[in-house]
Every structure is written in structure tokens, then in C-alpha cells.
Symmetry: C2
Subunit: 343 residues, 2 copies
Amino acid sequence: MSNSTPATIEDVARIAEVSIATVSRAIHMPEKVANSTRLKVNQAIAITGYTTNAMARSLRLGRSNMILVVAPDIGDPNFSNILVGLENEARAHGYGILIGHTQNDAQRGLEYLKFLNSNQAAGLILFTGILPFGHQTMTARLPPSVGVFEPVFNGGIPYVGVDDTEGARKAVDLLLAEGHRKIAFIGDSRTRLAYTRRRMGYDAGLDAAGIPPDTRIVLEGDGTIESGRHAVEQLFMRDTLPTAFMCVNDQTAIGVMVGLGARGYDIPRDFSVTGFDDVPQAVFISPALTTIRQPRTAIGKQAMALLLELLSDGRPTETEILLRPDLVVRNSVSAPSRNWSKR
Amino acid sequence: MSNSTPATIEDVARIAEVSIATVSRAIHMPEKVANSTRLKVNQAIAITGYTTNAMARSLRLGRSNMILVVAPDIGDPNFSNILVGLENEARAHGYGILIGHTQNDAQRGLEYLKFLNSNQAAGLILFTGILPFGHQTMTARLPPSVGVFEPVFNGGIPYVGVDDTEGARKAVDLLLAEGHRKIAFIGDSRTRLAYTRRRMGYDAGLDAAGIPPDTRIVLEGDGTIESGRHAVEQLFMRDTLPTAFMCVNDQTAIGVMVGLGARGYDIPRDFSVTGFDDVPQAVFISPALTTIRQPRTAIGKQAMALLLELLSDGRPTETEILLRPDLVVRNSVSAPSRNWSKR
DNA sequence: ATACATCATGTAAAGGTTTACATCGTTGAT
DNA sequence: ATCAACGATGTAAACCTTTACATGATGTAT
């Protein structure tokens, strides 16, 4: 039973007294085989403990049951929750997931391209806005692919993300509802669609409230904690201070809070701050950050579902799936301080 | 060049005007082939863009270049950093990593066992103290395996972790050096080696300082935030309060801080608190938590290195690799309050 | 009764590699 | 000059599946 070498389809065939073709059919196209023989085959499978050799199957089929997931930083806490969604969906359909970590290094990207070329992965999930493979191979035949968070530069690849514009709109609307009129926007100058769209949400919200845009309080950072801190310093050098900081992401918001804290201000009494993403730390910093939640597990699930659909159908049904982001209210926002002018 | 169907070894052989055997040798045993022909083969490879079909290779070799990593919760932020270490080391040796998420569910574990049986993974990295496969298959032939954090119950599987006893000793020694004499230990009753060893470090530290053990201030929780809070409540019902809380992990420590905060105490003025693990949140809570750092990326790297060694040598050189944990001093520890008795 | 469709099963090829064994040519020792 | 040893390469089998096609049996319509 628990022999030294794993049972093959031939072992099963011998015991069930049928041909290997019938065994294969009994497993993969059960309706094509008579009830009685299917029974015999199943018994033989139980006896031998047979599982089909995935290597041989993939070789014959020219397609594996693995999905390659490539992310610039798999250590990013934002990543792990997505992974959960991806993994659940994949496993439920018999696929395994293979992870790749490029660190934005083209060399590493290339090594993963080899995985693709050598047929080890049937599909690709990309977390980077650009194809992580060197230029010359930019045109290499890619397997069915799906982007997460943002469309892939090369085009033609559908993606699953969050409605950034709507999310940003929720944040700015909250601030407006609290009574803020001078709301700074700390953005991200890297030209990523997500950031551009968040800015659009900010603009639209202000516009709807009849507040004219004020470019003096719109700053471009790079999405890091440091850039949030830096933005605060810049604003303090100008003549007009905002009463609230709307940040393009949580990292920036944390930086803003640090910068404000260093100058002795209290949040939310003196200034309100909002983020975007709802990173795991957001609830632990003090005050806990009011932000926009990315439904990460759902995003992962959707992305994988879309990819699997692509894998069977061939043609994508949608080119862009945007999930609804939720506002999570914590403690970093309040009405603008009445005493502000006195400070 | 960029043909519709990927180049095979035969295409290369034809262009290089040699047999496919020579091509294979030129790639995998270059010293066995004449310089001149090796050159021709390399040129042909460059022309065709050939990469060896991993499915065919694995089938022939009876062994894949994938490592299965099984963890109970891949969404755990502690996990992602380990993953980085695992991934880097694996990729550097031409292996890919395949991730599995059991959620402590035997059914799911079984599905991953299939991956193993079907030869899709050459090795196994386990994050769970027990084999995640149902009982009946407990005895199934496993590929070379390595545990992370703790030994695998079944035995015979080497593991890579941190020296928990030494880490705990560093924490208790810090508290002792600050002048604490009544140090509570909030443990974890689940019988995991790591927790037992941390308790041993606590006992040894107290013993070395000549302080008799006081079981009234040693509590057993379950490693969650809630259990930390609960422990605080329990201690306040007893007659003797400690001046410091040494916690079995950061989650518990966070719970203790929350519990103490809810009662209006200030940390570290009124009570000192230490954790263990250095989870990503530890630096964001306030006060920032003094704790013991697990060198996570290094653990991942070592675990993978050990597994790869096992894969080539067959026999493990070590059965247990313990890395040195570091004390990270932040703001949750100070000398015991002089005013304590007045409170 | 004949022809034909249908169904269940078997035969054999193909998928791309690796490698034991065979072959052939060259070199060095006698 | 002969033989042995060696080095480089080729031939072909094997790894385990899946599936197009062939086969034979059974049932149905004429």
C-alpha cells in the first residue's frame, strides 16, 4: 500500500483490469465511462492511493495548474491580505500559487519570466503597474494575466482594484461635513493611476462643495512617511495653513501626524488627518487613523476569479473591476478648532 | 524568433547541428562537452530564446523545483517577512515557492498533501507545530521538510527558530537591571515549545537574581490581546501587584497595555511592559513597545537553506538551528515608580 | 436481415527532457 | 604498428499522462 514508489495510472489500470485510457477518463471525464467500470477504477485508486502526477499531466496538456503572483514587495503588510484572497480562490479551483518577489529589480523579474516561459505557470497576477521583465522581453508572449490595484502599463491586461476616486471622495466629504474648508492634499507624484484618481476625488469633492481649488495647499510627495513629514514642513513655511490634511495613502498620513506631533500639535484637536488604504498599523497609531479601507481579501479573490475565467474562456469579460472602498472612522478627524486663529 | 510555439531542445539541436543529448549536456554538465560545441549550443539557445521546459524536466527527474510553504495564516504580518527570506534563498538556487494556507483546517491541509504526492513540490516548509494533514495520512511519505519557529510534532523534522530562552532572559534581565523585583509573567497555556522556553528564560533570570518564584504573578493566557487584558484584570483582584509585566508575545503585551490604560495608568511610569516577537505594530503603539526581535528574514533564509541542503545531501546536518534574538529597547520600560506605594 | 448510429473501451502516439549505453575518433603507451 | 584508454557525441529508452483514432458490441431504424 504505502510502497516506496508512488502508484502510477498503470498500477490502477492493472488492478481495475482496464486500460490506462479508461482510468484517465474515469477521473477526468466520468460521464464517458460505464458506471460499473468507474466503480472498479475508484476502488483501485483507493487501494493504491494514486494521485495523478502533475508534472506528466502538465507536460501533456501544455499547461500547468500554477498561477504566478509577482509583487514588488511580498513583505508589505498590504500584500499578505490580498494573498489570502488570491490563495483561497485559487485553491478552490485546484490551482496553486507561486509567488515572486521582484523588489523592482528587472533582473529578478526576468528570472520569473523563465518560470512563465518554461510552462510552470498558466497565469500571472501582477502587482506592479509595469511589466517586471526587462525591455527586450517586453513583447514576450505572456500567459493570461490580471493586474491588481492598477492597470498594467503595457495594456491589454484587465485589472481589479478599488474605486480610488470614490474612496477619496468619501474622505473629503467627511472632512467637509465636519466643517473643514481649507483641506490640504498630500499626493504622490509617481504617475500611478491610483494616485491620480485619488486626487480627482479630492478635486471633485471640493468642487461640489463650491470651494475653489487652492494649489498652495496641494503638495506632491512620494507616498512615504518621510514625504508626509516633509509636506508638513513645507506648509508651515507658507502663509496659509489648512485645517485638515487629506493624504494619498496611510504612510503619508502617518508622516503628517509625526510632523505635526513634532511641532507640538494635537490631532485631531488642532488638525484633522485622513489616509487611504487602511494599513494594519492604522489602528495602532495614536490617534487611530481615519482612513479609506481597501477590501484587500475581496480584491485578491476577484483578481484570481477573473484570471481563472480568462484561463478557461480566453477572452476577458471585463477590463476593469473596481470594488467599493469603505470609510473607516477612527480618531484623527474632528471639526476644525474654533481656537485656531489664536494659535 | 518570437514564434508562436516555444522553442524546444530539438530546435536548439537542429540549429547548433548537434544531438539533443549534447544540448542537454551543454546546459547541465558543461564540462562534459567540447568548448567549440558548447559555443555553438549557446548561440543556438540565444537565437531561439530557448528555456528548458520545467514540466518535462521535472517529469524525467522525478523531482520538481518547487518548495511548498504551508502556514496556518499567510495573512499574519509575522509571516510576510519570513516569506521574504524564504523566497530570496529559494530563488537564488533556482527554486520557486508555492504557498499553502491551512487555517488550521485538516481538509485544506489534505489538499496540499496532494501537491506533494503529485510531485509538484520537492520540499516542504512548515509553520505549524503539527503536520497539517489528516491523521490517516500522518504516515504518508513526506518530502524533505523543515519547520519554522518550532519543531514539528511528528518528529524527525529539523527546524529553524529563535533561542526563546535566551530572548526571554534578555527581557527579564532588562527589567531586573531597571530595578524591578516583582515581575509578572503572562504566558500562553498552549503547549508550544516556544512558549515553554520563554517561561524558562523568565524563571532562570529570576533565579539568577536570587528572587524566589511567585506563582501568584505568573498567569497563563492564550497569546491574544484579549488574554493580556484579562490577565491585568486578574492581577488587580489579587493582593500583590507587580511593577512590571513580562509578556510571552507582543499581542499579549498590547493587551496588557490596553488593560492598564483603561484603568488610568501610565506606561512606563506606573508599570513597565515587555513583549516578544517585535511585530510590525510594536513600534506604532504608544508607548512604543520594548520587546525581543525575531530576526524573521534571517529565519526564513536559514530555513530554506537548510531545506535545500537536505534536498541535495539527504541527511540533515543539524536538527535544530536557533538564531539569536535581539532586545529592542523602546519606551515601555522604566525603573519602577518610587511613588508606587502611595497609589 | 441489413445498415447505421451509439456507446464503452483499448491502442498508440505525443509532449520535452535526461541519461545509460553505444559508437567513433584520437591519443599515448607498448 | 597495435592496443587500451579516453573524450566527445549520438541513439534510444524512460518518466506519466491525455486523447485521436480504431475496435467491437449493442441497439435502432429501415
